[in-house]
Amino acid sequence: MSVKAAEVVAAALRRRIILGELQEGDVLPPEDILLADLGVSKPTLRQAIRILESESLVTVRRGARGGIHVSVPRIETAAGYAATVLEFRETTISDLFEAAAALEGPCAAMLARSRTTGQLERLRIAAEAEAAMRDDAQRLLELENDFHRLMIDMAGNATLRVLCEMVRVVIDAATRRYLAGTRPDVHGPAVQAGARTHLRVVDLIERRDADGAEALWRKHIRATAAQVKRAGGPDMVLDLLG
C-alpha cells in the first residue's frame, strides 16, 4: 500500500464532497465498485477512507444499514474542534470575549460601510423586536445573541463568520449560565441595556459611521464580559463546557 496513493484517493473524494457532488448522507458505492472505479488496491482504498474518517468527512457504519456515509463539513463540528483546543489551552471566558470584540468589531465597521437599505431594515426590525421583549430576560437574551449573528452574517465575510461562530457558541453558553446564575434585578437591567445598545448600533450603521459602530460594538462586548465576570461562575472555558 502506498501512503501517497491513499492521500491522492482521499483528496479526490474530499474534492467531490467540497464541490457538492457527494452530499450529506450519501453512501459511497460498495468497495468492489470503488476499487474498480479508482483503480487502486484494497489497502490503499481503506487507508484513504481512514484519512477521510479522521477528518470527519465520512463515517463508516457496520450492520444492515452499513456502508461509508458522507458527512459534509459543518460549522458546528468546526466549532467543536475549536472548543477542544481552547479548553486544552486553558482559555478563560474573559479571553474569549476579548477575541469576540476583536472579530465582531470589524464586522460592525464593514457592515456600516456596505449595508443596503434592505439590510438596515432587517437590522432595525431585529433590534426593535428586542425592545419589545424587555420583560422576558430569557427570550431577550436569545434575541440579542441572534442579533450578533445577523450582523456578522450581513458583514459579508464568510471567513470571519466561521471564526465568530466558534467564539459565539461558547458565549451562548456563558451568557445562558449568567442568566441562570443571577437574580432578575441584576440581569434584567443588564440585558435591557444590551438591547438599547443594539438600537444605537443600528443608528450608527444607518449613518454609515464605521468607526463609531466598531467602537460601540467593542465596548458592548467588553461590557457583557464585565457583567459575566462580576456575576462569578466559571472562569474557564473548560468548566463552562466540560
Partner: protein, 242 residues
C-alpha cells in the same frame, strides 16, 4: 430528548481527562480491558468511543500486539484543517480569507498598542531581527513572515484570537507555498524587501505609542499583500487547497 449513546458519553469522559491534562500528550490510555471494566461496556462500544476521539485527532490508535491508544495534544491542526475544508465547501473565495486576516491582525495591533506594558512590542521586535539576512531566500522568508504575523496575533493578549488566527495562517501559508512554486525564482524578492520595511515600521510605530497610525499602516500593508497574492483573478479557495 435523545439519550446520548454510551460511546459518546465515554468519549466525552476521556476527552475531558485529556483537555484537563489528567491524561497528558504522549501517554497511553489505560488498556481496553481496564476501560471496559471502568465504564461497564463492551469492546465494540469502547472502540466506537476511540473512533470518535481518533476522528477528533486527540488520540491515535496503534494497532497490533503492542498497540493501544496514545493521547495527542489538541494543538489546533485538526481544527485548522477542518475549517479549511468547511470554507472550501462554502465556496469561499481566497480574497475573503485574506480580508479576514487583515481585520484580525489590525484588531491585534490595536490590542498591542493598548496593552499596559511594552513586552508585546518587544516580542515583535525580537522576531524582526531574523528577517534582514533572508529577504532573498523566498522559502526562508515565507517561514519568517509567517512567524512575524503569528507574533502579531499571539501578543495581542487573547489566546482565543491567537488560536483562531493560526487557523487562517495555515490556509494562507499553504497558498503562499503554491504561489512561490508557481512563479519564477526571485519573483517575491522585491516584495519581501517591502514587507521587511513594513514590519520594521509597525514595530517602530507601536514602540512610539501611536496605535492608530500603527493600525492604519498595518491595514495598508495587508491590503497590498492581498492585492499581490490574490490579484484580479480571485479564485475559490477549493482551487487553491484541493
Amino acid at each position: 430528548m435523545t439519550v446520548p449513546k454510551a460511546s459518546a458519553l465515554i468519549a466525552a469522559n476521556l476527552r475531558r481527562r485529556i483537555v484537563t491534562g489528567d491524561l497528558a500528550a504522549g501517554q497511553m490510555l489505560p488498556s481496553e480491558t481496564s476501560l471496559m471494566a471502568e465504564f461497564g461496556v463492551s469492546r465494540p462500544t469502547l472502540r466506537e468511543a476511540f473512533r470518535i476521539l481518533e476522528a477528533e485527532s486527540i488520540i491515535t490508535v496503534v494497532r497490533g500486539p503492542r498497540g493501544g491508544a496514545r493521547v495527542l495534544a489538541p494543538d489546533g491542526a485538526m481544527a485548522a484543517r477542518y475549517t479549511g475544508t468547511l470554507l472550501q465547501y462554502q465556496g469561499t473565495p481566497l480574497s475573503d480569507v485574506y480580508r479576514a486576516r487583515t481585520e484580525i491582525e489590525v484588531s491585534a495591533v490595536g490590542m498591542i498598542a493598548a496593552a499596559r506594558g511594552k513586552s508585546p512590542v518587544r516580542a515583535l521586535a525580537a522576531v524582526l531581527g531574523d528577517g534582514d539576512a533572508i529577504v532573498d531566500d523566498e522559502a526562508a522568508f515565507a517561514e519568517y513572515s509567517l512567524r512575524f504575523h503569528l507574533a502579531v496575533v499571539e501578543n495581542a493578549g487573547s489566546t482565543t484570537l491567537a488560536v483562531l488566527g493560526r487557523m487562517l495562517f495555515e490556509i494562507i501559508d499553504t497558498h503562499n507555498a503554491l504561489f512561490i512554486a508557481s512563479h519564477p525564482p526571485g519573483f517575491e524578492r522585491p516584495v519581501n524587501r517591502t514587507a521587511q520595511r513594513a514590519y520594521r515600521k509597525l514595530v517602530n510605530l507601536l514602540d512610539g505609542g501611536d496605535g492608530l497610525a500603527a493600525q492604519r499602516h498595518w491595514r495598508r500593508h495587508l491590503e497590498a499583500v492581498e492585492k499581490f497574492m490574490v490579484g484580479q483573478s480571485d479564485t475559490a479557495l477549493v482551487e487553491v487547497l484541493s
